[in-house]
């Protein structure tokens, strides 16, 4: 199978049913994408496939044949993506494990909706769990990146 991973064409000889997650982690050594549940329930494994946020743990390789996959390692070369910068400025991570998935989902949200409101953030981020409870700072970092004021009218809609 041929997939383009972070801009590089790769040919992988793996079981077509193998989830993309394990191909990224075990075969390509891209360990920034995390295993958290294996059933698309936690979002730790989120990557972009042709620009859309996808749970790589339930995406078989045959479904990404010929497609472009972006992982956290390809979101920016040097951590300069505005979301990554906002994440650091607001010190969002606690244990850090879920944060790459959170950032990939947030990046897809902002690409589709540059100025999201709280309801948009709730809907987009609903599938990404954080056991440390960094949700308030995740919300704040997305708003900071989008240039949306915090606690703006309508916050509680």
């Amino acid at each position: 199978m041929k997939i383009r991973v972070n801009g590089v064409e790769r040919t992988l000889e793996v079981d077509p049913e193998m989830p993309l997650l394990w191909a990224l982690r075990d075969t390509l050594g891209l360990t920034g994408t995390k295993y958290g549940c294996g059933e698309a329930l936690c979002g730790a494994c989120t990557v972009h496939v042709d620009g859309l946020a996808v749970r790589s743990c339930v995406t078989p390789m045959r479904r990404v044949d010929g497609k472009a996959v972006t992982t956290i390692e390809g979101l920016s070369k040097d951590g300069s993506h505005p979301l990554q910068q906002a994440w650091l400025a607001l010190r969002v991570p606690q244990c850090g494990f879920c944060q790459t998935g959170q950032i990939m989902t947030a990046a897809a949200l902002l690409a589709a909706k540059p100025r999201p409101n709280d309801a948009d953030i709730d809907a987009a981020m609903a599938g990404n769990l954080c056991r440390c409870g960094t949700y308030p700072r995740i919300r704040a970092a997305i708003k900071k990146t989008a240039g949306v004021p915090r606690d703006e009218p309508g916050d509680d809609k």
Binding site: D26, T31, P93, Q94, G96, D151
Partner: protein
């Protein structure tokens, strides 16, 4: 000194790897580290030798600090505690560096391996600052004294006239300065100062400590995907294992289809794991391991294995009937562990008695990172990489499982993707080490989410019964508290079936009560599963019951809930053992002189949190608020939660306030982060908490049924209020959790009139 410098994340030179040789934290004897272990470094997850580090000449007055004899005096600081999100790696080294007078940009942080020379490394009990604040400062101060002594000798001035600042020793009267690098060689020949000779800086002069924008040491790694957690370590030739573990504690394999598993492409080995013996302790669970060349092949191999189990005696455990057993237990007299006055007489003559029972089920840690460990075994030695909270326990357990000496075992501590107590257990580390030896290749053991849920060490399931008596004037005259749960001690000794004096410190014995007749009793509960530490442990259910009951007493008395809290706790004072009605208090290992049971501090956080939440204005504003407070890990925390009606889910949490008095803190931003996160974990416990078992098997298997709070469950406005204090440091990581459940249940009562006495609240409300 006091001008805070603006710190950037580039200020740290980050290196997640291993220890440099040196001295014990008592730091009195110099012992060279002849056998420098290897480690790993980012971004490529591969091991590299760190042997050159030990060859570096320099100043090493203790095991935590090494200053190289290079141009800048590059300073290596060891973090001897595990990083699991609480921010120790961003905090402890800063404390040492500030005390030393180092510039953070010249500091390298290395993670300690598991070794007794570092003292207590068990990252548990909210203790890293609480126990080690002064020791860590002394580690930095020892090096500072030696550098100053070397400079003073060279300048022929008195050491007291010199200061250490910005990686230099300065003599202000003559405006002379020498960099640390230039002083290291001379300083290393001087005697290491004795403990009594060390002078610590005034705390407020530590320039980076409590800087509000202190960066996360590992922040860039986290957001770029380069941070190395347990499963991210890769060794050359490594195989990957998943294990079919018995679903019932103590179960064994009855039959399995080895050939079917081996027929799966990529599966290399099918290995029987050693069966654990009672007591369970930290032993691996047994079962059968599938070792393969990829995680996917191992998972497919396990699916093909078709194991049937001999469940053994624990298959009788059913949490629905156990709930009834626990209720029966608290309806009968237990062992009195706290007694003041005569509760039976006071209740017998009371004008009014209020009584309620509370239940909290097993809770599972559910760290986002399921357990994982990597091991290799060669030449009779094992080396393990694991996200362990307790590297010395992992070392001991790996040595036991392999039958080798601890000196033959190296435990490398990776970043931990959430611990909460689960990863203080050594089971996954020793599974990896056992398999690496059996297959003759490095092995990574990967737990799936279902494995994590099915084979955990759960928080104890609990029942409580509380009774209070009022006299004819409405004054509280009796308080009778019974609690039944299986203590953690049962995991280490099956004869333990009843909570001890030490167990009941958590919110039963250390509750100040201005009530003349008090009795607290521990009631029996046998051990049906493995019980383990879970963030804030027994405090979760004790705070839920006590915080709910005080709200019930307020409602029964038509009093404001805060007034009832004041009435129950009484005036500001330090309650001694005699007043508490106990013979001793474990007090989280702290003396009562240093950390008394301080009713004033508990009242203080109640008053602050209710002021922030505009408690007195709530009825006029049409708000539905719940209040609760709790002392744990010698910190004081109070929470107010606001709920609003929701057409689908009956209620929604729209705002929350948390106030905490934890004494002296070191990294103020991480403390606020713990308050935010602890509040949210408390919401998860109350809304969704609940592991249930049927025929000895856990019924939940993934986040669809073992639920935790999602972003929309969490209030959009959370207000954290940390009391500025110079009191001795308390715990910080766990204390935000306990009061949340009662605050939420009390808020739901204010909104709906429905009293909830059992977690999960969602089930109680049918949502």
């Amino acid at each position: 000194m006091t001008d805070p410098v603006q710190i950037t994340r580039r200020s740290f030179l980050v290196a997640l790897n291993l220890g440099v040789g040196g001295l014990a934290l008592g730091f009195h004897t110099l012992e060279a580290s002849a056998d420098e272990p290897t480690g790993f470094t980012g971004p490529g997850p591969r091991p590299v030798s760190q042997a050159h580090e030990s060859a570096t000449a320099g100043l090493a007055p203790n095991v935590l600090v090494h200053i190289a004899a290079d141009a800048t005096g590059t300073t290596t600081i060891i973090c001897h505690r595990s990083e699991m999100g609480q921010g120790v790696r961003s905090s402890l080294p800063v404390l040492i560096a500030d005390e030393l007078g180092a510039k953070l940009e010249h500091v390298i942080v290395r993670q300690a391996i598991g070794d007794k020379k570092y003292g207590d490394q068990n990252t548990d009990g909210s203790s890293s600052i609480r126990k080690f604040l002064d020791d860590l400062r002394r580690a930095g101060a020892a090096a500072r004294h030696m550098l100053i002594a070397a400079a003073a000798k060279q300048w022929k001035v008195r050491p007291e006239t010199c200061i250490a600042l910005d990686h230099q020793v300065v003599h202000p009267p003559t405006k002379r300065a020498l960099g640390f690098g230039a002083l290291v060689t001379a300083a290393s020949k001087l005697p290491v100062p004795k403990l009594g000779e060390l002078v610590l800086r005034p705390f407020k002069e530590l320039r980076n400590v409590n800087h509000p924008s202190l960066p996360l040491l590992d922040g860039a790694g986290y957001v770029e995907g380069k941070a190395l957690f347990g499963a991210d370590v890769t060794l050359p030739g490594m195989l990957i294992a998943v294990i079919a573990r018995p679903p019932v504690v103590g179960g064994t394999v009855a039959s399995h289809d080895r050939a079917a598993a081996l027929a799966v492409p990529g599966v290399k080995h099918v290995i029987a794991m050693p069966a654990p013996k009672r007591p369970w302790m930290f032993q691996p669970w047994g079962g059968i391991a599938i070792v393969a060349d990829s995680t996917w092949a191992a998972l497919k191999g396990r699916a093909a294995l078709a194991v049937t189990w001999d469940d053994g005696t624990h298959a009788s455990y059913d949490s629905a009937s156990f709930r009834d057993e626990l209720l029966a237990s608290v309806r009968a007299p237990g062992t009195p562990l706290r007694s003041v006055g005569d509760v039976d007489a006071a209740i017998g003559t009371a004008a009014r008695v209020v009584e309620a029972e509370y239940l909290v089920p097993h809770l599972a840690h559910l760290p986002m990172e399921p357990p994982a460990a990597i091991a290799r075994f060669a030449d009779g030695k094992a080396e393990v990489w694991a996200p362990t909270q307790h590297p010395q326990a992992a070392r001991a357990e790996v040595a036991r499982v392999l039958g080798i000496g601890e000196d033959k075992v190296t435990i490398n501590v990776t970043l931990i993707g959430g611990g909460f107590g689960r990863k203080s257990k050594a089971d996954f580390s020793s599974e990896a080490a056992f398999l690496a030896r059996e297959v003759g290749a490095p092995v990574r053991v990967q737990w799936t989410r279902a494995d994590d849920i099915h084979n955990g060490y759960y928080n104890a399931v609990n029942a409580q019964r509380l009774r209070a008596g009022f006299d004819a004037n409405g004054k509280l005259v009796a308080w009778h508290h019974r609690t039944a749960f299986t203590p953690i001690g049962s995991t280490f000794n099956e004869a333990v079936v009843e909570p001890s004096l030490g167990d009941l410190q958590q919110g039963v014995l250390d509750l100040p009560l201005a009530i003349p007749n008090v009795r607290a009793e521990a009631c029996k509960a046998k051990a049906p599963v493995r019980i383990g530490w879970y963030r804030s442990v027994y405090n979760i259910f004790h705070a839920f019951a006590v915080g709910s009951f005080i709200d019930e007493l307020a409602h029964a008395s038509k009093l404001d809930a805060r007034d009832m809290w004041h009435a129950v706790l009484g005036p500001a004072r330090k309650a001694d053992l005699n007043e508490l009605g106990i013979t001793k208090l474990a007090n989280y290992g702290e003396s009562l002189d240093r950390h008394p049971v301080d009713a004033g501090r508990l009242r203080g956080v109640i008053d602050r949190v209710t002021a922030s939440a505009k408690w007195d204005d709530r009825k006029r504003a049409g708000r539905h608020l719940g209040l609760a407070a709790h002392r744990s890990f010698v910190a004081y925390t109070a929470v107010v939660i606001s709920v609003v009606p929701d057409p689908v889910r009956k209620f929604r949490i729209d705002e929350a306030w948390i106030a905490m008095d934890a004494g002296t803190v070191v990294n103020i931003d991480r403390v606020h982060a713990q308050m935010e996160g602890g509040l949210i974990m408390g919401i998860s416990n109350a809304l969704y908490g609940g592991i249930t078992l049927k025929r000895g098997r856990v019924e939940q298997s993934n986040f669809r049924d073992a639920r935790i709070a999602r972003i929309r469950d969490v209030p959009r406005r959370i207000h954290t209020d940390l009391v500025a204090s110079e009191a001795p440091p308390s715990g910080v990581g766990e204390p935000p959790v306990p009061p949340v459940g009662a605050a939420l249940a009390n808020a739901v009562f204010a909104l709906t009139g429905q009293r909830i006495r059992e977690f999960p609240i969602t089930r109680a409300l049918g949502i």
